[in-house]
Structure formats: C-alpha cells, structure tokens
C-alpha cells in the first residue's frame, strides 16, 4: 500500500475535514488548498518562481528578519514576567533576572542579541531589495511599507534600550533624544512628548515601555503581515521578467 492510501482514511475522516479543508497535499489541487485555506500559510503564494528561490538571490533576509522578530516576541514575553517599569524597581528587577531567575541572563542575552541582529537583518534586507531592483512597479508601495518597518524596527530597538535603566541605557537615550530635539520648532516638542518631561525620568521609562511592549510590536506585526501579503499580491519575489508571473 502506498503512503497516501494509508493516510486516506485519516484525511477523509470527518474530524480531519472539520480541521482542514483539503486532503493530503501530494497533488497540485491540495498543494494549492493547503496554502489558501490556512490563515498562517495564506500570506504565501501558492506557486513561487524558481529563480526567486535561489539562496544567492535573496539570502532569505526578509524571512530572517521575521524569524528574529518572532524570537524577540518570545524572549520579550518571558522577560515581561519579571520586569517592572518604574525607576525604583527596573534596575533591581534586571539584577533579579540576571542573578536569580532560572535562565534569566540567557533569556536576556537572546533578546538583546536578536534585537541587534534584527536591526542588521532589516538594513541588509533593504539593501538586497534595492540592489536587485525589487522595489520597482508594481512593488513601490511595498517598498514604502518596508521603509516604515525599518523605522519601526529602529524605534522598537531604541525604546527597549532604555528599559534596563543602567548608565548605558540612560545616557544612550539622553544622547539619542537630544538628536531629535534639534529639529526646529517641532524638535523640542517631540522630545518632550517622547520623554514625558524635559529629561529622562519615570514618565520616559513608562512611555518607552508601553511603546516597546505594546504599540511598536503590534504595528510591526500588522505591517509585516501587510508587507508579506503584498509580496504575494504583487506576484511573488521580483524575479527576471521573463519568468515573472504575468
């Protein structure tokens, strides 16, 4: 008996059919349905062009950025169980995470290195898309979504930088927000809005925390979905024109 005939009773069962709307994906129809009927897979195209699958074409940098984002959400959620965003408790809870929480230091390491890696991966991804001309029509809008995602990534990393509430964090954010304040008229206002005052303090910590754990990750998650969905809608990864899906 072949493998598919062994599995047919399972994939034809009412329970299986209530979960999945397709049979075993060993034929073109079911391979299409597995992508289109699944909420996680439907961001992918059903068919991809062979040239665009070559490692040396894309280096997988977009997917790598998304994977790093997932790693960051996971390690960040673990850290959230212990971290308290007040200037009295932030630093002691950081010490707790490093000294007493099981695998705390390791989780924090993962979060920090994945964050740096994500900024790097996103920048490299942008360079890849530029140098392969993958931003060209009809993909202009998706390029702009990508530029916004780059800025959001920088914002997410920057807001996270303050949270340990050590000297490194405090002075990096002081220097960083000073750069923003040089904009005429709007600059000092923007700095005050971000910091919740004229200098880095309790309000800033709470604002950075809220941006870091809620607003920016939600925006990134939303825009990444749009970004990947648009790749599919625009005909997959830009490949040489003669092999592009018309």
């Amino acid at each position: 008996m072949t493998r598919s005939s062994l599995l047919t009773p399972l994939t034809e069962s009412r329970v299986w059919r209530s979960f999945f709307r397709h049979g075993l994906p060993d034929n073109p129809l079911d391979r299409s349905l597995v992508m289109t009927t699944n909420i996680f897979f439907h961001l992918h195209p059903v068919k991809v062009s062979r040239p665009s699958l070559r490692w040396s074409y894309s280096f997988g940098l977009g997917i790598i950025s998304a994977i790093l984002f997932a790693l960051l959400v996971w390690s960040g959620l673990l850290l959230m169980f212990y971290y308290a965003p007040t200037i009295e408790r932030a630093y002691p809870t950081m010490k707790d995470i490093q000294m007493t929480v099981p695998l705390g230091q390791f989780t924090r390491n993962m979060h920090r290195w994945a964050a740096h890696a994500m900024v790097l991966a996103v920048i490299l991804h942008m360079a890849r898309v530029f140098y392969t001309g993958a931003f060209k029509p009809p993909r202009e809008f998706n390029w702009i979504v990508g530029v916004v995602l780059l800025l959001l990534t920088l914002g997410a990393s920057f807001t996270g930088y303050l949270l340990p509430w050590d000297q490194l964090a405090y002075w990096a954010i002081t220097v960083g927000t000073n750069i923003a304040s040089y904009a005429p008229v709007a600059g000092p206002m923007m700095r005050e809005l971000l910091l919740g005052g004229t200098e880095v303090g309790q309000n800033s910590l709470l604002r950075f925390y809220t941006l870091h754990v809620a607003i920016l990750p939600l925006l990134i998650g939303l825009l990444v979905s749009l970004h990947i969905w648009r790749v599919r809608k625009d005909g997959g990864l830009a490949a040489r024109r003669n092999s592009e899906v018309k």
Binding site: L71, Y91, Y131, R139
Partner: protein, 256 residues
C-alpha cells in the same frame, strides 16, 4: 472565415492558409520540461521547509551567541554622573558622529530627513521595470556599485579625519557667521561628496537606475563609515582614538 477543408495528411496536417507547418518531430527535452509556463514550483512544501530550516538555524545562532556573550548591564542610571563617552545605540551613532562635524540641525534633522525622503521617493524615480530581479541590473551596474563604494569609503573617511585635524567650525569661528561655518559649508561638502558620482555618471550617459545605484551606495557606505567611526574609533570625550589604544580602559564593544 470561409469554410475550408484542411488537407489531412496523417500526422502532419497541412492547411492552405498557414505559412507555417509542423515539419518534423524531434526527440529530446524542451526548455520547459518540468517547469510551469512561468518556471514556478508549488510553495508547498519547499517554501515551508526553507522557513523551518531558517528558523532553526537562526535560533541556534542566537542561542549559541547568547551562551558565550553576556548582555551588558552597567551601574544603575544616575542623571548626575555622565558616562564618558556617552554614546547613542550603534544604529544612531552615525548621526552622533555627524554631529561632531556640523550644526545639529544639519546633522540631526536635514540629513536624516533627506535620507528618509530619498528612500520614499526612490521607487517613483527609478521605475523602469526591465532590470527588476537582477542584482545590480547589469555588469556596468555592478562596476558602478563597486567603484562608488570604494569612492564613498575613501571620501567619508577623509572627511572625518580632515575635519578632525583642521576643524572647519574652529577655523572659521571668527571669520564667518555660525550658520555658514557650521551649517552651509559642511552641508555643501557632504552634498558634493554625494552628488559628485551622480554627476560623473550623468556625463557618462548612465541611465536612472545606474545613477540611483551610485546614490544608494554612497548613502549606505557613508552610513557604515560614520557608524564604524562613531562606534569603534570614538573614545572618552568623543575624541578619535585607535580602537586598541583607548584610554582609561574604555572598550567600545562593552556598550553594544
């Protein structure tokens, strides 16, 4: 069309209207064997397998790195004790490096604003679709990228070193008003460094794509030079030192 009776000749039907005909059958592979009409494959399972392999690989890489290198945690934040040097996170340190050379409005607002604007309008300027999906568009494009990368690396390094040795801001402090010495003049120098390769390419009849390749390369290489300079070569007092000769035991990598 008038009704016509095609002359049937077994396997090679002849049609009186046609200027072409099937004249021979050849055994062999056509160019499209095992390929869809657009050379595509089903995303399931190849793309998902790729994603799983990448996920495991990236997680493992971060995992191993986290085992050997600890995330830094310094003393508790103290607003009354400034660290020396006080540096922005590495991805903003290029801007901090620029701030050393010119007026903050130019370095902190105009230049980053111009960069974001350049990125946003880019696909509307460079919109020819022919070379989409081809690295550097052509062999000439590749040469342009390599040469502008070398040019930008040399020009930006020279600018940082020269401006550090003979600071324009200091030389012209008593001669010219501040907005010229610190604003207009450095901005003009940076603009010249950026525009020079574009002008040269224009003279060489390069197309829009090739000019954009040069501009983007100048942007990204300059950002790398400024970041490396700010991150590795700036020590106490944000002065230039060789990374292995930092005073006071300062190690730039500690602040990552």
């Amino acid at each position: 069309m008038a009704a016509q009776t095609p002359v049937s000749d077994d396997i090679f039907p002849k049609h009186t209207d046609k200027t072409f005909a099937l004249v021979e059958l050849v055994r062999g592979e056509s160019a499209m064997v095992d390929k869809g009409p657009d050379d595509t494959v089903f995303a399931f399972p190849i793309v998902l397998l790729w994603e799983i392999v990448l996920s495991l690989g990236i997680t493992l890489a971060i995992f191993l790195f986290s085992l050997i290198k600890q995330a830094p945690l310094e003393e508790i934040a103290n607003p009354f004790v400034t660290t020396d040097p006080a540096k922005a996170p590495w991805y903003f340190i290029g801007l901090q490096e620029l701030l050393e050379h010119m007026h903050p409005v130019v370095a902190g607002v105009l230049i980053p604003g111009a960069l974001v604007l350049f990125l946003v309008v880019l696909p509307y300027i460079d919109h020819a679709r022919e070379d989409a999906g081809i690295w550097f568009a052509s062999a000439r494009g590749k040469r342009i990228v390599v040469w502008t990368a070398i040019y930008a690396a040399v020009a930006m390094t020279a600018y940082i070193v020269l401006d550090n040795a003979f600071s324009l801001r200091e030389l012209l402090r008593s001669v010219a008003p501040q907005w010229i010495a610190q604003g207009l003049l450095p901005a003009a120098i940076i603009a010249l460094i950026v525009i020079l390769p574009a002008l040269a390419l224009w003279r060489l009849k390069a197309n829009t794509r090739q000019v954009m390749l040069a501009l983007f390369t100048v942007m990204i290489v300059s950002a790398v030079v400024l970041t490396v300079s700010g991150f590795l070569f700036r020590g106490p007092g944000f002065k230039l030192y060789l990374p292995w000769q930092m005073p006071n035991g300062y190690n730039p990598w500690d602040g990552l």
